[in-house]
Symmetry: C2
Subunit: 206 residues, 2 copies
DNA sequence: TAACATTGTTAACACCGATAACATAACATC
DNA sequence: GATGTTATGTTATCGGTGTTAACAATGTTA
């Protein structure tokens, strides 16, 4: 063997990239440490010098995914708070559509149990805070009902997350036929679902 | 070997139950055909006489999951259409909370690719139709805005699905502290998120 | 240069899903 | 009742996986 290549020097980054490529092309289950090692040209146990185990490698992928999502949400124009909410939702769904396998890994749940990878939890929280602060701003500016912020964020996040998953899993056949579905769904939440525009602000806990 | 036990007679049902037990206690990844076979007291390849492969067995579990979900949604009182919508949403989230691993399997996406198991797709559709028909009834009775039904169902389903996943994955810490979170979130969608109760029914596609 | 830490290696363990070839039981038909 | 067919088991085996142990080579530093 060429003695220059014994210490690879770039192994963790290359393994990370390789795993990401496989994830995008196939799914998380298709990620095999042995296959990655072979592709890079290194023995399989070498990976264990840089990743505690397979799950930790997957967690690293999910972390970068949350960073990308956070960045994309931050890039949304925040001029008009009404449009900001819609556009943040659209950016969120677009991210899931652009990176379906990565998104599933980030929110898989069964994989990557919460609490096992603190940096992952923190990365998820950072992305979440972008959504939260936008909602808080909408409330401050009087555009949104002055309901408890956790309730607002839970509702908004549930909608965009659920919509993202249903779309990328093909449960909403209208997603392809109707490219503005996400826009309509988000607008429906923003405008409310009630027919009679009564002011039932006290009625949230009947 | 006791000749009476050669033909087991109850193998598929027992394998199904065993897999379901493992799924509930651990996760879908913990389901191993070999382990199931050993527990039942049969050789591993015997399972292949009843299930094409591991994925098909998982699909069977998901099918029964969708049937349970459908039944629980059907059991919801439908007297008051306004309450019916809320209660169907609550029943949906409760199911996910009661059967988190099963719910993740049903909506995992990465596993059980859509189209690969027609009976599974049909079972999912049946559960979906309960939600759809309740929404349609709400529109007929004038309680809900006369928006396109696919838009209404996509929105409602996205919300309950997203809420369910975020809760069972522990992303909404308020779920334990605030048992009425689901109720509040669903009510928020029903009442609308807008502060000014204008009638923007034409404004869904700005 | 010698000691040490880092980062590779090969060998091996304990699993896994899946298939092939074969054996037994149940059953249908003459 | 004997016989051929089908259903349902068996054992043996293949190729694959994550992971660990024991060892070797390189890089770093006193």
């Amino acid at each position: 063997m060429s003695r220059a290549a014994y210490h690879h020097g770039d192994l963790p980054q290359q393994a990370h990239q390789q795993a990401l490529d496989i994830l995008r092309a196939e799914s998380d289950t298709a990620i095999s440490l042995r296959a990655i090692a072979k592709q890079i040209g290194v023995s399989a146990p070498a990976l264990y010098r840089h990743f505690a185990d397979r799950e930790t490698l997957l967690a690293e992928l999910a972390i970068t995914g949350f960073q990308w999502l956070r960045d994309r949400l931050r890039q949304v124009e925040q001029d008009d708070p009404r449009k900001a909410l819609l556009h943040i939702g659209l950016a969120y769904v677009s991210f899931a559509q652009d990176e379906p396998h990565l998104y599933r890994l980030m929110f898989g749940g069964r994989i990557l149990p919460k609490g096992a990878h603190p940096r992952l939890d923190e990365a998820g929280l950072e992305a979440f805070r972008v959504l939260e602060s936008t909602l808080a701003r909408g409330q401050r500016e009087g555009y949104l009902k002055p309901l408890p912020l956790p309730l607002m964020t839970a509702t908004a996040w549930s909608l965009v997350h659920g919509l993202s998953e249903l779309i990328i899993d093909g449960h909403l056949p209208g997603a392809d036929a109707e490219p503005r579905l996400a826009e309509s769904v988000l607008t429906l939440l923003l405008h409310g679902s009630r027919n009679e525009p009564e002011s039932h602000t006290e009625d949230t806990t009947p």
